[in-house]
């Protein structure tokens, strides 16, 4: 990028009122150094050098992610009879089934908490992660039109896919609160960490979404593998059972490679005053970070070809 020492005066059409100055301008009217109006934008042939994520640029385009998310959110329940109630219906129906099969018939232990209350928060967060991951994975391809016609930092596509589900998550977690109140389960002081688990689940969805989205541009196999992948992931995550079922040792370490393990343990700890997450969950956290970092690297390295390949 080459900076220019001074900006030329802004051309203003006499017919058009000058738009209000927007982001990038300092109050004095002097263009800021990174004002997109006066900066050089370069599109050059790729070099071998790895290019990092341009966070400043992604931030400038943040409204795009927001608008895409808003569009998804608005459209999701438009022309439906139940509307936003679907956010509750889905996990509730799943809960009823699991409560009967695993709670009543299989009598899975639930750390001394009523089974339905034990399972529901985990089910909420799982529903969020699985919806967000599949949305992120398919986002670029389903918005092909955008990718082939306009420029925007591509990473915003999976980011925008993470947002709409958060609303559903908050709604369904409030219902979990109602369930807890009805059954007399009270949270402990760890409730303060609740936002952290939600944030972590966003990161997990983001990391896996980056991988799958970039892969899906190239190989449409992803669409077919996704349901199977998510189903497997569901059963290796301690959603319908307690992670305390797995005995300590290498098996537990292996189990904790699943980034969802720490999130669900943590969520139960925060909400239901269940036992605090074990040390093994640090593995989980490390895998989450690894997932996001490698996801970004892979996504960045393939994004420049998206428009040609998609």
């Amino acid at each position: 990028m080459q900076g220019k020492p001074s900006a030329p005066p802004e051309p203003v059409s006499p017919a058009e009122p000058e738009p209000e100055p927007v982001g990038g301008r300092t109050p004095g009217g002097e263009p800021a150094r990174d004002d997109p109006r006066t900066a050089w934008v370069v599109n050059r042939a790729p070099t071998a050098r790895w290019q990092g994520v341009d966070l400043a640029e992604a931030w400038r385009y943040r409204e795009l992610a927001y608008m895409l998310a808003l569009r998804t959110f608005k459209l999701r329940y438009r022309q439906t009879f139940f509307g936003i109630a679907w956010a509750l219906l889905q996990p509730l129906v799943a809960l009823a089934i699991f409560a009967v099969i695993f709670g009543r018939f299989a009598k899975l232990p639930a750390d001394g908490i009523p089974y339905a209350v034990f399972v529901f928060p985990a089910l909420c967060i799982w529903t969020y992660v699985s919806t967000a991951v599949s949305a992120a994975a398919l986002e670029l391809v389903s918005h092909q039109e955008l990718v082939t016609k306009v420029y925007f930092p591509r990473v915003l596509a999976p980011v925008s896919a993470l947002l709409p589900g958060v609303v559903d998550l908050v709604i369904s977690l409030s219902l979990a609160g109602v369930l807890m109140a009805a059954t007399g389960v009270a949270p402990g002081p760890a409730i303060l960490l609740l936002p952290m688990w939600i944030l972590l689940s966003c990161l997990v969805a983001f990391g896996s979404g980056l991988w799958l989205a970039a892969l899906n541009v190239r190989y449409r196999d992803v669409r077919h593998a996704l349901p199977f992948l998510l189903q497997t992931w569901f059963f290796v995550s301690p959603v319908v059972y307690s992670s305390s079922l797995i005995e300590d040792g290498w098996l537990r370490a292996l189990f904790s490679l699943n980034p969802m393990a720490a999130i669900i343990d943590g969520l139960r700890w925060s909400l239901l005053d269940a036992p605090a997450p074990p040390v093994y969950d640090l593995i989980s956290g490390a895998v989450t970070i690894l997932l996001v970092v490698t996801g970004l690297v892979y996504f960045r390295s393939s994004e420049r070809k998206f428009a040609d390949v998609i």
Binding site: R37, V42, N43, A45, M67, L75, Y151, R218, D221, K305
Partner: protein, 408 residues
């Protein structure tokens, strides 16, 4: 060079159209990976297609540049690189400031959202902030003329309304560099007039504009300078009149057959374009005032519904004295339910100025273009009795051509 706005140097874009280029499933990719490296390279290399090569030019702020060239000459690839949608294989393109391209008209529009919601979504997609859209919202709505339907999902809009709304958003982008691609060819004439007005506004307000079009008349009207792209390279770059003149020269008679040969992309192929007398005899020479007929032969390979045909005459300044569409004639339809050859005649009645013309032909439906290019060049010589100042006189003849469908 302080106010350089666009700087393109040595730009090249290679597409691989061979083995390993298009695999879309993992298995196909695997099978190419396991081929010996050398074999893959030997097979792959000759199939490289350079959509752009050695393209260099620059524009200073306020320049208005036309870009012309046949289909496949690299115009859209160039625009895509300028807009950073795709990256070049060689060289670089530098843009000073923000770039908006009107080739993205309607991008991000969603049928189920209302007009209002789509304006905001589309504006942000095209690089405005929500505040900027808000500031210009009334202006946009007024320009589009759909204010009464703003809170209705756009799936209930007519296609014309959608287009007007989309163009209105794009036309109100406040960017330093604007790229316009062919969008002015749509909409009714009133709307086209307003679009052209908007283009002139852009120009006057000192914006840097790249204008891509097949409509040489508009290029000549708007752009002092034009680049002619041919096979991915800059074939000419200079004053618009010279470049357009040279471009039209290139549609010489010997080339027509070859050019028609590549018109087989869709289900309808153009076979020939000739000038004939009204009863179908061949014409050697045309004098001013002679009535003549344009004969069009084409073949459809499969059933086509709703075929429309357009024929225009264009002079070297890009003016079109004649521009006729078959669909404008009520009650005249071509039956394309079975494959076969067809012949269409267009009688051109009144005197045209004595000069060179290009016959442009468009074959397509409301959703698809099968052929859209200049197809024949001819000259009208002055009539023997013409005085010097009568030579250049001609009238605009829109709507006066008479169509006839003939059995071939």
């Amino acid at each position: 060079m302080a106010d350089l706005a666009v700087d393109v140097s040595d730009l090249g874009k290679r597409y691989r159209v061979g083995i390993g280029a298009d695999y879309t499933t993992l298995r196909e990719h695997m099978s190419t990976v396991f081929r010996s490296r050398r074999a893959a390279r030997d097979d792959g290399e000759p199939r490289d297609l350079w959509a752009l090569q050695d393209v260099s030019f620059s524009m200073v702020q306020g320049d208005v540049l036309g870009i012309i060239g046949r289909n496949g000459a690299g115009k859209s690839t160039l625009l895509k690189i300028l807009a950073r949608i795709t990256e070049p294989t060689t060289g670089s393109a530098r843009i000073h400031g923000r770039l908006a391209s009107l080739l993205e008209v309607g991008t991000g529009f969603h049928e189920d959202l209302t007009g209002r919601e789509n304006v905001f979504l589309n504006g942000v997609v095209l690089g405005m902030s929500r505040r900027e859209v808000q500031v210009r919202f009334d202006e946009i709505v007024e320009f589009s003329g759909v204010s009464r339907f703003l809170d209705m999902p756009i799936k209930r809009y007519s296609s014309g309304m959608k287009l007007r709304l989309a163009f209105a958003v794009a036309a109100h982008l406040d960017t330093e560099v604007v790229v316009v691609d062919e969008v002015l060819a749509v909409g009714d004439s009133e709307f086209q007039r307003r679009c052209l007005g908007k283009m002139s506004d852009l120009q006057r307000s000192g914006r840097t504009v790249l204008f891509v079009s097949h409509d040489l008349g508009t290029v000549a009207q708007l752009c002092p300078r034009t680049i002619w792209l041919a096979a991915g390279k800059i074939h000419a770059d200079g004053p618009t009149e010279e470049v357009i003149g040279a471009y039209q020269q290139s549609f010489g008679a010997p080339e027509i057959a070859a050019r028609l040969g590549r018109a087989g992309g869709g289900p309808v192929r153009l076979d020939s374009v000739r000038l004939v007398t009204s009863d179908g005899a061949g014409l050697e020479q045309l004098r001013r005032g002679d009535p003549f007929t344009i004969e069009l032969c084409f073949t459809n390979d499969e059933t086509v519904i709703g075929l429309d045909v357009g024929i225009y005459l264009e002079d070297s300044r890009g003016v079109r004295p004649l521009d006729e569409g078959l669909s404008e004639v009520v009650g005249l339809d071509i039956d394309l339910s079975a494959p076969g050859p067809h012949k269409l005649l267009l009688d051109v009645p009144a005197p045209l100025a004595a000069k060179e013309y290009v016959v442009g032909v468009w074959l397509g439906t409301s959703t698809e273009d099968f052929f859209d290019e200049p197809a024949l060049r001819f000259e009208i010589k002055p009539a023997l009795e013409d005085s010097r100042d009568a030579i250049g006189k001609s009238r605009v003849l829109h709507g006066t051509g008479r169509w006839r469908v003939m059995s071939p």
